[in-house]
Amino acid sequence: MRIRNAVLVALAIGAVMYFGLELQFPREALHISVKAEALTCIGGEMDTAHPGECKSGFPITNSLVTTVIVDLLLVLTILFGVRKAKMVPRGFQNFVELVVGAFHDFAVGVDKKNVAKFFPFAATAFFLIMLSNLLGLLPGAGSIGMCQVKAKAAGAGAEVSAEPSRYADWPLTCEAGELLVPYLRAPSADLNMTLALGLISVVLIQYFGLKSLGLGYLTRFFNFREGPMFTVIGFIELISEFIRIISFAFRLFGNIFAGEVVLVVLAHLFPYMLPLPFYGFEVFVALMQAVIFSVLTLVFMSMATQAHGGHDDAEHGAAAH
């Protein structure tokens, strides 16, 4: 009962503050960027017409900054965890062994025979994706940044930005006509990162398949010996390998980016208490997407290394190819 009263009081105070501010100032325009914005350009200059883009040079985007932070966190964790490795672990080493061991047990459940081959990539992908998803949910990740001048050419947009913002004289806000480019952005909310992960995963799946089955692995794509139906099935298998890249990339990108958009829109509609359950759900989604990516990689790898039927001889694959 006491918690319910506290929630109701917070909602009432929030509603009063919200509608008071709403009457006083016009609503701020919502800004969502699908792609990662450039913070600075190495060996080039920023595009003044479009904020967050480089006219020339190598763009340092906000998701690249976050990726480097995630990499440093992972490398430092492992370095400090196994620096003075003992047989009986204590302290921080205990924690690292617990986390890695839990995922290793999970991977053994998927494929017991080849787990030593598959585990390094799957575990790296799991921890990288989980940390990068969670870092994007860190308070301040999408709201602290630098101000870049907004494009004047965008007719309707210029009129909206000319109005004074509700928070115009608060600290950490941009002037009217300027756009906030956050310093940190979840790496998984950038399609480049997820596409790279999907490509690495699918290429590794083909590598393990070719390594364990030899050229006979190719018979599942090019099968002309057993009639036209298997030829068509092989063709569909070949296309589905390419669809895997797209589905890996867009599943991760779509889930994390959609989560960020939901949080931004809800905080825009009513900033008090309403985004809280969705924030909890996004933490769950962040963990779930990391699990799904690594489990699917493990399952596809284990499927690629298993010969199907009894017709996987090497010269057949070479002849068919």
Binding site: G109, I243, I246, S247, F250, R251, I292, L296
Partner: protein, 77 residues
Amino acid sequence: MTDEGLRFVAMALAIGLGAIGPGAGIGVVFSGALQAMGRNPEAEGMLRTYMFLGFALAEVPFILSLVFGLLIGFSII
């Protein structure tokens, strides 16, 4: 209706209609896996693997419609 507005309607329709089938399919996958786990708890590890595989296969049409919806919406095709 302007050309740009028509594009946004097309994007919304592509993504929204493409989400119907995979939504039902993912529900069927997980309900079947949960029933099987309830009946035979020893097979849970193997079932979990195939559950995620079925989930991934059921989600492919939605991913495709999402990709095509974004391609239409950002006027790439």
